[in-house]
């Protein structure tokens, strides 16, 4: 039996959030289903195919983290975006660590949600294409000695102890073409799992990139600001964004994924 298809599943115990996201999704002409409880959501997932799941963290009975773990256990690869009203760095880190592709704090604006749904849908398509081994999807592999936070932001420790930070090819493919890059200034502080860069695209969307590590910016790539296409051409070398001195390196490394694991 062929499962029916739906674009987005929203899991949130607040009806107003479901209504809000549904309305935003309808602007983009996407179909939406929703459930107020985790249990109910799994029933829906077994009935329908979804491109994307947007899931609240604080839920009664089964919370967002339990849901994401349960999905992994059932080998359901639908990308998950976490959202919460209790938007702490810890929640963001934990979400990305557990495999969520993105994190959005409440309350969000329409534009933030639209850009998020865009990335999510693109991600979902890329994932499906990759599965089918479509030749047109050519992902530049992340170098083996690099580490990444979730799928979006990479880091590489240089010999002098400084760390280079950039966006993964996968992430860029979910947002491209990038028209403009907004970076923080030299001397400012990055916090892990907090936005560190903004990628503006032709469709007037702004996509945040969550920093892979915390640290002080000692250099930023002015070249990539001038030529955003560098990002797409060479995301892992010439397309780097920041050079930082990490402040909590040992602690934060624990939640990063080695890029070498992508090869298997």
């Amino acid at each position: 039996m062929m499962k029916s298809h739906c674009n987005i599943l929203i899991i949130d115990d607040e009806q107003v959030i479901i209504d809000s996201i549904s309305k935003i999704a309808s602007l983009e002409e996407l179909s939406v289903d929703s459930s107020l409880l985790g249990k109910d959501a799994f029933k829906k997932i077994s009935e329908k195919d979804f491109d994307l799941i947007i899931c609240d963290i604080m839920l009664p009975e089964m919370d967002g983290f339990q849901i994401i773990n349960e999905l992994a256990k059932r080998n359901i690869e639908t990308p998950v975006i976490m959202t919460t009203g209790y938007s702490t760095i810890e929640n963001a880190v934990k979400s990305l660590y557990l495999g969520a592709i993105d994190f959005i704090p409440k309350p969000f604006t329409i534009d933030e949600m639209i850009s998020l749904i865009h990335r999510g849908m693109r991600y979902s398509k890329l994932l499906a294409a990759k599965k089918k081994n479509v030749e047109s999807v050519l992902l530049v592999p992340c170098p083996a000695k690099y580490y990444r936070l979730g799928y979006s932001c990479w880091m590489n420790k240089e010999l002098d102890g400084s760390v280079l930070i950039g966006a993964t090819d996968f992430f860029i493919k979910t947002v491209e073409p990038v028209r403009q890059i907004e970076l923080l200034n030299h001397g400012e502080i990055l916090t892990q799992a907090s936005p560190c860069a903004k990628f503006r695209t032709d469709d007037e969307l702004a996509h945040p990139l969550y920093s892979v590590l915390s640290g002080n910016i000692i250099e930023r790539n002015e070249k990539v600001i001038e030529q955003p296409e560098l990002l797409e051409k060479d995301p892992y070398f010439d397309g780097w964004l920041y050079r930082i001195i990490p402040t909590e390196f040992d602690y934060e490394m624990k939640i990063l994924i080695p890029c070498s694991s992508d090869r298997s």
């Binding site: 607040e14 107003v16 959030i17 209504d19 809000s20 309305k23 935003i24 604080m58 919460t84 009203g85 209790y86 938007s87 702490t88 760095i89 810890e90 704090p105 409440k106 309350p107 969000f108 604006t109 329409i110 949600m113 502080i189 916090t191 915390s214 002080n216 001195i245 402040t247 909590e248």
Partner: protein, 631 residues
């Protein structure tokens, strides 16, 4: 009644007094009686000898009338009961009582018994054996009798009368009995006197002890009990006054110290509990508010998109969107506070951070016509701090200053760097004896830090002393009752090796000096008699004073009333009514505390704008450089 310590003390002392005085009086009276009796005995013996001598010549002359006359005469003395002379056979020949003459005495009678007990008369008897005390008639007083044998002498059997044979050894017996009536009276009066003295003494001791116990034990104990009850009931500020200088006074003072410390600790605990519960509250509120805010934000944005042709409505909707975004920032701030994140420190220049903070409020300053005066220390060293958090601190203080001034005024910002003595701020983290046994005792903490433990011997007492681990502080703990100023010996608790430096003397009191090695950091010396607070740590002193960076932010606004000054760092304390959240200064306090810094406030209430005399100055002191070894 016997539960009171005073009653117990009085009872114990009284019983002791009764026993001691009773025993003493008893033996005293016994002794007196004995002495009196011996005196009477001696007197009787002398009398008996006198009678013998007086009658000797008459005896030799065998002048019986004369002898009888002498005896009569002597027997007239009222103290003398009877004087009689018996011959060997027991016949009374002479007596001061005529009716006794010619009577035969039974040899078993009391007066004869001593010699004739063995049926064979003894010839020599000691004075004691010759004496007897008896009651002649049941209703009369006791009498003391003394017999005096009359021995045969050459002059007796050689005299003309030839009354005696030369072979006889004892010719007769002189028996003198003396009435003991007076003596008994005296003994009795002695006994009464003794008993009266004993009773009076016991009562007097009881009263004196009672008074002292009441004054010096009962009242202070009552006060102490009262104080503990007060503290238990929650009156933690209760102070004990006037307990004197003895141990109870000392107890009272340490009780006061204790309640003071307890008060401070409970205040701190209260503060941190408040902070913690506030954090939970903030998190809950943030979570709850963010959901409806999402609705407001999304739907108002939708309306914006839908009403693009209605500029009037667009304007109003923009206000809703803008204000919702503002609410979002406020809730975010609440969450930031709730997390109380660990500062992410880096080297930063405070002058630059101040620049940035001032830039944020510059518009507000302009509107309120407030000028900023900067007194920058051009050589202000960079410090290790979380620039974002420090900026938040400055921003909060500027906003507070602007609120305090209202319109027209001045905020003065001064940065400076200063050095403070290492005393009172440097922790002794390691200390060893000559055999490198560690003296650090993590079990006993002073001011939250492991103390330095040494064995102490003082006045025969032996125990441990715990030194305050902060150089120059003297919150030492003495495990024994220490007589300050006495000569103490201090040694390693592990190997007993002496820690006294015999070559040195305390420069303040001339007493002994202890010397403890701090590995790689020289030695710490201090007054071992603990009479004064002399202490020296050459290594740290040589390193010079510890460096701090200071920032003063002063406004000439309305000032803070003295009664509020102690509360301003508490969460939710606000004088701004509806306008403020009451979070600002407690957050500042937390941030500075996280940076091992200190924030203090001085304020004077003025009446702006007429009399610009008031104002508030916040002073922040942050440690410069490596802060790890500092308190």
């Amino acid at each position: 009644m016997f539960r009171k310590i005073g009653t117990k003390l009085i009872l114990v002392v009284s019983v002791t007094a009764v026993i001691i005085i009773g025993v003493f009086s008893y033996f005293n009276i016994e002794r007196q009686t004995e002495v009196l009796r011996a005196e009477v005995q001696r007197h009787a013996n002398q009398l008996s000898e006198s009678v013998k001598n007086a009658t000797r010549f008459a005896m030799l002359k065998n002048d019986r009338d004369y002898i009888q006359q002498i005896i009569d005469r002597i027997g007239k003395d009222p103290a003398i009961n009877d004087v009689k002379i018996m011959n060997k056979e027991g016949e009374i020949i002479y007596s001061s009582r005529p009716d006794n003459i010619g009577k035969m005495l039974d040899k078993q009678a009391q007066s004869c018994y001593a010699c004739h007990a063995a049926n064979r008369p003894l010839e020599k008897l000691s004075m004691k054996n010759r004496t007897r005390i008896f009651t002649a008639n049941p209703d009369s007083a006791q009498v003391l009798g003394i017999i005096n044998p009359i021995y045969n002498e050459p002059s007796c059997f050689e005299s003309d009368c030839h009354a005696h044979e030369p072979s006889a050894k004892v010719l007769g017996v002189l028996d003198v009995t003396i009435s003991l009536k007076d003596i008994e009276k005296q003994i009795q009066s002695n006994e009464i006197q003794g008993a009266v003295f004993a009773v009076v003494a016991i009562v007097a001791i009881g009263f004196i002890i009672g008074f002292f116990v009441k004054r010096y034990v009962d009242q202070p104990v009552k006060e102490l009990v009262n104080a503990t009850e007060q503290v238990a009931a929650g009156n933690i500020n209760y102070k004990i006054t006037n307990l004197g200088k003895d141990e109870l006074g000392k107890l009272g003072r340490s009780f006061n110290d204790m309640t003071k410390k307890l008060d401070e600790t409970s205040q701190q605990l209260y503060q941190s509990t408040k902070m913690a519960s506030l954090g939970q509250l903030a998190a809950g509120v943030a979570h709850e508010i963010n959901n409806p805010l999402t609705g407001v934000l999304t739907y108002s944005s939708f309306l914006l998109k839908r009403t693009k042709d209605n500029p009037q409505m667009q304007e109003d909707l923009n206000v809703i969107v803008r204000e919702t975004m503002r609410s979002r920032e406020i809730v975010k701030g609440l969450l930031d506070f709730a997390r109380q994140s660990v500062p992410k420190k880096s080297l930063c220049n405070l002058n630059e951070i101040l620049d940035r903070a001032i830039a944020v409020v510059s518009n507000q300053l302009k509107l309120n016509r407030i000028t900023i005066e900067r007194i920058n220390d051009p050589e202000l060293p960079e410090i290790t701090a979380d620039a974002n958090q420090i900026q938040q601190v400055f921003l909060n203080l500027f906003v507070n200053g602007i609120d305090a001034i209202g319109q027209d005024g001045k905020i003065t910002v001064r940065t400076s760097h200063t050095s403070l003595s290492p005393r009172g701020i440097t922790q002794i983290k390691n200390a060893v004896c000559g055999k490198t046994h560690s003296l650090i005792d993590p079990q006993h903490k002073i001011g939250g830090m492991p103390s330095i433990k040494m064995k102490i011997k003082s006045n025969g007492n032996e125990g441990f002393v715990h030194l305050d681990p902060v150089y120059g502080n003297h919150r030492h703990y003495f495990g024994i009752n220490l007589d300050k100023g006495s000569s103490n010996t201090l040694s390693c608790p592990t190997c007993d090796m002496s820690l006294i430096d015999k070559t040195a003397k305390c420069p303040e009191c001339g007493g002994p000096v202890y010397k403890i090695q701090v590995p790689n950091q020289g030695f710490i010396e201090g007054c071992a008699s603990f009479k004064d607070s002399w202490q020296r740590w050459g290594y740290v002193d040589a390193a010079g004073e510890k460096k701090f960076v200071e920032i003063d932010i002063a406004d000439n606004g309305c000032g803070i009333p003295a009664e509020n000054l102690s509360k301003i760092f508490e969460p939710f304390f606000s004088t701004k009514g509806q306008r403020g959240t009451g979070l600002g200064l407690s957050v500042i306090w937390g941030i500075i505390d996280n940076h091992n810094g200190v924030i203090s406030v001085q304020s004077e209430v003025g009446t702006p704008p007429a009399g610009k005399t008031g104002g508030t100055t916040f002073s922040i002191r942050l440690p410069q450089g490596n802060t790890k070894s500092f308190v």
